[in-house]
């Protein structure tokens, strides 16, 4: 018995040793001396539509508001919105949150070119967008030196990008309703807020006008939500909403959704 075990050990060890030596030589050959030709081919698409149509798929695009920055629970308005919708319907809701903190409109344009993102948007029943906050406020730069000409320039650029975003979305998905969450003025209780308020209102107005040109596309205002007692609804950074603020936005969006 002992002898057998030893013999078996020999056989296995010698075989595996040879195998590893061959493998090692081959690896060296493959990694260092093989022809550097690109032989990566795109595999055939075999994406199947969502398994069952009972489920509702929500795809959320945008910036930190979509991510939920400032919310202690980390859910953001999307999270609370889904919770409310789940109470309302029996359907299973699947959420895909593609928001990235700090995104500006041109980055969203680029994101929409990605294959994976496109696939998800094709299957979406509902598309939610928050974008533009970083275009306008430029992480606080705009408020530091208020200048209407500058804001006009930013807005033109943003509207161009937004137009492209909506067109791209509609190419991918003709049926899904798009909800676009508008901007609020986080600086409304500062001394010279009038100018900023005007800029934000103008920004929102132009945005909703652009969205009006597309069917099934809804502009959701949030300006009024943060108009009074803005500090009750803002996170300590005085820019992002806090949990309460996010819940307000979620309530508003959820009241608009009909399947």
């Amino acid at each position: 018995m002992k002898n057998f075990t030893v013999k078996l050990t020999y056989v296995i060890s010698l075989v595996t040793l040879t195998l590893f030596l061959v493998g090692f030589t081959w690896t060296l050959q493959n990694q260092f001396f093989s022809e550097k030709t690109t032989n990566v081919v795109v595999k055939e698409e075999m994406v199947k539509k969502d398994q069952n149509d009972q489920n509702k798929t929500i795809v959320a695009l945008g910036d930190s508001l979509t991510r939920g920055t400032g919310d202690i629970e980390g859910k953001g308005y999307i999270g609370y919105l889904v919770e409310e919708l789940e109470d309302k319907t029996n359907e299973k809701i699947t959420l895909q949150n593609l928001g990235v903190k700090g995104y500006r409109s041109e980055q969203l344009v680029n994101q929409l070119q990605q294959t994976g993102v496109k696939e998800q948007l094709k299957n979406a029943d509902l598309i939610l967008i928050t974008i533009g906050g970083n275009d306008l406020f430029q992480s606080g730069q705009t408020i530091m030196d208020l200048n209407l000409e500058n804001i006009d320039r930013l807005r033109e650029q943003y509207l161009k990008n937004l137009g492209k975003i909506i067109v791209d979305l509609r190419v991918l998905n003709k049926e899904a309703t798009i909800f676009f969450v508008g901007l609020y003025n986080p600086f409304i209780d500062l001394n010279d807020a009038a100018l900023m308020t005007k800029a934000v209102r103008h920004w929102n107005f132009e945005t909703s006008e652009l969205l009006d040109k597309h069917p099934q596309t809804v502009f959701v205002p949030t300006f009024d939500l943060f108009q009074l007692k803005v500090n009750d609804y803002l996170y300590t950074d005085k820019f992002h909403p806090n949990t309460k603020g996010y819940k307000l936005i979620a309530e508003r969006v959820s009241s608009l959704i009909t399947w």
Partner: protein
């Protein structure tokens, strides 16, 4: 010579060392299989989809969000952005990097254990090869035989290489068999991308190639084997140099663990790349992950490891032949 090797193998087999190593591996594989199973369950619940594209896309988004947070270092940022680019490449080419199945599990498990767990298993065999003969006093019996000293040491070394090969084989075999119970045994021919390189934080895909998973596994395990042989050789040297087996093991363990820790923080200390323990993660090159220090390549690491191994052998033989035994 063959008799001498046979003698050494007998010692290893009789002490059931290989059996213990197999048991440890089996227990660990079971644990990780279960953990992975739970993880997948949770992911399905969270993302609500079993489609890997959705999961991968979500991972990309999550990483992008981590990139924007201010608290992370530049090096880490570079690695993250490299990972995003690679995942995007997988997505663009419609290749699932984590095709479910036992081969994929075996692959990732080997990637994760090449720097610490497998070297540890090799140490179980190598650490007392010479020093135990010393502490038990049997070395005198061995050396009084009419055989040259270098032959005795060589026979021990050959036995070590044979055992290392068995360990690596057992490792692959056990993780395949055990994880297959849960994940299924399929997936040998799933495509895997390899040959990525990076330059200044940009992923270079010009030399990327798509190979079936079995080829990738073959390459990966031969690299794992190479690392195991080098670690075994260095442990072997310590076993010659240091009388006490626990101390020898302690030294080697300290080296390995410091390597694992240093890899995470030395990116600014460039000369650290000449340490053998920084260079153990050979499979990372195959997968195209960013190396711990900019400028390290597979070739570089192989050279460092080979030199470390050769030096270790040289020292072992010189010391063993010259030293007084009493």
């Amino acid at each position: 010579m063959i008799n001498l090797v046979h003698n050494e193998m007998l010692k290893i087999v009789r002490r059931k060392k290989l059996v213990y190593v197999a048991l440890i591996i089996a227990v660990l594989v079971s644990l990780f299989t279960y953990a992975q199973f739970k993880e997948i369950e949770r992911r399905i619940e969270r993302v609500g989809s079993i489609d890997w594209r959705t999961t991968l896309q979500q991972q990309i988004i999550d990483t992008q969000n981590r990139l924007t947070s201010s608290g992370i270092s530049e090096e880490w940022k570079g690695q993250l952005s490299l990972r995003i680019q690679q995942q995007q490449y997988y997505l663009d080419h419609n290749v699932n990097p984590m095709e479910p199945g036992a081969p994929t599990f075996t692959r990732t498990f080997a990637e994760n254990s090449i720097t610490l767990f497998l070297p540890l298993m090799v140490m179980v065999i190598a650490a007392d090869l010479v020093s135990s003969e010393r502490s038990a006093g049997t070395i005198k019996l061995l050396l009084t035989r009419p055989v040259k000293r270098w032959k005795i040491l060589l026979s021990k070394y050959v036995a070590l290489i044979l055992s290392v090969s068995i360990i690596i084989f057992m490792y692959g075999f056990l993780s395949y068999m055990i994880s297959g119970i849960v994940f299924g045994y399929q997936g040998w021919s799933a495509p895997i991308l390899t040959g990525f390189t990076s330059e200044a934080g940009e992923l270079i895909t010009s030399s990327a190639q798509m190979i079936p998973q079995w080829q990738y596994l073959f390459m990966e395990f031969s690299l794992v084997w190479f690392v195991a042989v080098i670690v075994g050789t260095i442990t072997f040297m310590l076993s010659v140099l240091i009388r006490s087996t626990p101390v020898g093991m302690g030294v080697m363990l300290a080296a390995l663990i410091s390597g694992a820790i240093l890899s995470n923080m030395v990116s600014s200390w460039e000369t650290a790349k000449y340490f053998f323990m920084i260079n153990l993660d050979l499979t990372a090159y195959l997968a195209g992950n960013a190396p711990p220090i900019e400028g390290m390549t597979l070739g570089f690491s192989l050279v460092v490891l080979t030199i470390s191994g050769l030096v270790a052998i040289l020292i072992s033989f010189i010391v063993f032949i010259k030293q007084d035994v009493y």
